[in-house]
């Protein structure tokens, strides 16, 4: 039985395909259309899923859409009832468009996939899709499940209990009281974009002091002892205006909101630190409440807020749960998978085959390309290259890494979710003191304060980080072991302390001596594991830099053509693609082409 899950029309449209309860394929539409966070109907992702399974659309038994448009419509109308008169312009601006494009999903599916497909369409709830994506692929028979995002149809946070194939919702928090939206408000306040800038805000937070924490708790959000929250809507405008906040919030904070690309001053780092702290307090309280409600030892997380890996790191240490599993595609893309899984397990018992093994297959659920395809692309794009044996490729790549070269690493199936996990990655030597700056400015063309994540051999995690469990999806932040740190005890400053050497793996050590760890297991990614092992054998370091294979504003590369283009038009030193090694010195790029490439993507 084939089940297709679809999420669409908000941000990060995606499709996922199951054969019975096995995940065959999952991918975000943005990777194919090359439009970051593409919200269009994921027709290309659907077609890819069908290709991967080698089936036609008519062989699909069920199609599940990740949310219920009628419930969503009722929330939109009830919001306008609550904000009658002052929300008129927002209403006239958005409501007709909503009806035209987003409400009549069955009609849209009929138009795009045909009548036969539309007849197989069912709808699930947004948060149930998130809950399913968090629990069903997890390695737990029994777990508390928490979903936190901006807003689903009505819910903004849900606590549920998962047992076997059953998910029972215990508590919900409703719009507009949303920890996700609260975080987004401050993302915009600090000059970043909603739905992509939250990550930057989290990276900025350690440069600041939580000076506004009390103000936020006193005036903006009431946090109850059980973790539920109430926003003071006097300061937020998102219910009745396209802008998330107005002058009243700026007056309260005491500084104007930052415009994007203007200099980042210390005050904004302090704001980031404050909202990060408040978010952690809320998330921790919700988790503790979920524990008392469910009495479970395990916790599963999904929803956009679950991508806040700093908060996840604290949950791991302080929430009282023994184990935590976080869906790697925690944003709305993952709901496509959740919706499909929920459909399957609504009529099938679920057993966890082996504890500690989830069913995400490392999240390597996207397309892969044969050497033949890669070679064709290399020839088409006019590159000089060398074909190597797999072992030689690993040896030569490791040796380039040792010499502080920055390498595009394109292997196997593309990752599902926002992180590159070693198949569509740009990698570098974490021991290099200059590489963070160089990679941010010359390769990613992004803000220089942004940290890079380390990939570390699973068996060596504890030698580097204070982390006692694997973190395969780069969703946990952990402190670098103290014996590796060069601690000067002085609070960091955003304007002066960005590029200090803080440990013996400086390129991945953030300003607060933490890192967003990816543990690499031999079982899920043998080739990437072999590369880091080889690097370890020649440098004695089991850690490398891993950042997504793209530039700022560009979706992560999907095809060999995307990768070659990105390699050609950035200052990367080499590209290891399939069994081919391409060197920059043999393929120089010119400045105009690079500028044109950078400007072809809207800055995120």
């Amino acid at each position: 039985m084939y089940t297709l899950g679809i999420s669409a029309y908000y941000h990060d449209s995606a499709a996922a395909l199951l054969k019975d309860d096995k995940i065959i394929a999952a991918a975000q539409e943005e990777r194919f259309t090359r439009i970051k966070h593409d919200a269009a109907f994921p027709i290309k992702a659907v077609n890819y899923c069908l290709e991967e399974a080698e089936i036609s659309l008519s062989q699909i038994d069920s199609i599940v859409y990740y949310e219920n448009p009628t419930l969503k419509l009722s929330r939109i109308i009830s919001n306008h009832i609550k904000n009658v008169f002052k929300g008129f312009f927002l209403y006239m601006d958005t409501f007709p468009q909503y009806l035209l494009q987003k409400h009549f999903i069955k009609r849209n599916v009929t138009k795009i996939l045909g009548k036969e497909a539309a007849a197989k369409l069912t709808f699930l709830h947004h948060h149930t899709s998130h809950l399913a994506s968090a629990f069903y692929p997890s390695p737990f028979e029994d777990a508390a499940i928490i979903t936190m995002d901006g807003v689903g149809e009505i819910e903004t946070t849900t606590i549920a209990h998962g047992e076997g194939s059953n998910i029972q919702i215990k508590k919900t928090l409703e719009f507009p009281d949303s920890v996700g939206l609260l975080y987004s408000v401050f993302t915009v306040f600090c000059g970043f974009k909603v739905n992509s800038g939250e990550y930057k805000l989290m990276g900025l937070a350690p440069y600041g002091q939580p000076k506004y924490k009390d103000l936020i708790q006193d005036k903006l959000v009431k946090i109850f002892a059980d973790g539920s929250i109430k926003l003071n809507m006097e300061y937020f405008n998102f219910c009745h205006e396209p802008r998330m906040f107005g002058e009243k919030l700026e007056k309260l904070i005491g500084i104007p909101a930052r415009t994007s690309e203007s200099p980042l001053t210390q005050e904004y780092a302090d704001i980031a630190s404050s909202i990060q702290d408040v978010t952690e307090i809320i998330v921790l309280k919700i988790a503790q409440y979920a524990k008392t409600m469910t009495n479970s030892k395990n916790l599963c997380l999904a929803g956009g807020v679950a991508l806040n890996c700093v908060a996840n790191g604290r949950l791991l240490k302080e929430s009282g749960f023994d184990k935590i599993w976080i869906q790697p595609a925690s944003g709305d893309a993952g709901t496509a998978l959740g919706a499909a899984l929920h459909h399957v397990y609504s009529c099938k018992p679920r057993t966890v085959e082996r504890e500690n093994t989830d069913s995400m297959q490392g999240s390597y659920l996207g397309p892969q390309f044969s050497d033949e395809n890669i070679e064709k692309a290399l020839i088409k794009l006019d590159l000089s290259f060398t074909k190597l044996k797999p072992d030689t490729l690993i040896e030569q790549t490791a040796s380039l890494l040792k010499n502080d070269k920055v390498i595009g690493w394109f292997q196997g199936r593309m990752e599902f979710g926002p992180r590159a996990l070693g198949n569509r990655s740009i990698i570098g030597n974490a021991q290099s003191p200059n590489l963070q700056k160089q990679m941010n400015l010359k390769i990613k063309f992004r803000e220089s304060f942004r940290p890079f994540a380390p990939s570390v051999l699973e068996e060596d995690v504890e030698h580097y980080f204070q982390l006692q469990c694997p973190s395969p999806y780069m969703l946990l932040v952990a402190t670098v072991n103290q014996d590796r740190c060069l601690n000067d005890g002085i609070s960091p400053n955003i304007e002066s302390d960005i590029h200090q050497v803080r440990s013996d793996i400086p390129a991945v050590t953030h300003v607060d001596y933490t890192a967003r760890v990816q543990s690499v297991s031999k079982k899920t990614n043998p080739k990437y594991h072999a590369l880091i092992s080889k690097f370890k054998s020649i440098t004695d370091s089991a850690v490398i830099i891993n950042t997504s294979f793209n530039i700022r504003g560009e979706p992560i590369v999907c095809t060999p053509e995307d990768a070659i283009k990105c390699f050609k038009l950035t200052h990367m030193d080499a590209l290891a693609i399939g069994n081919y090694l391409v060197l920059k010195e043999q393929n120089p790029s010119n400045k105009e082409e690079i500028d044109e490439y950078i400007n072809s993507f809207e800055k995120d």
Partner: protein
């Protein structure tokens, strides 16, 4: 202007008129009534 563009434009206008009707004859009256009956603030929890 060809026929399909014209039809599209007519569709848009009708949609905006329909939305306005919903606003004036549903959202406004219900919104006014809702203002008269404000729910009491929850004191120690906001979970549903």
């Amino acid at each position: 202007m060809n026929t399909s563009t014209l039809l599209k434009k007519i569709k848009y206008v009708l949609l905006y008129i329909f939305s306005l009707i919903i606003y004036l004859f549903y959202i406004v009256p219900v919104g006014i009534i809702a203002r008269l009956y404000k729910k009491p603030l929850k004191q120690d929890s906001n979970w549903s």
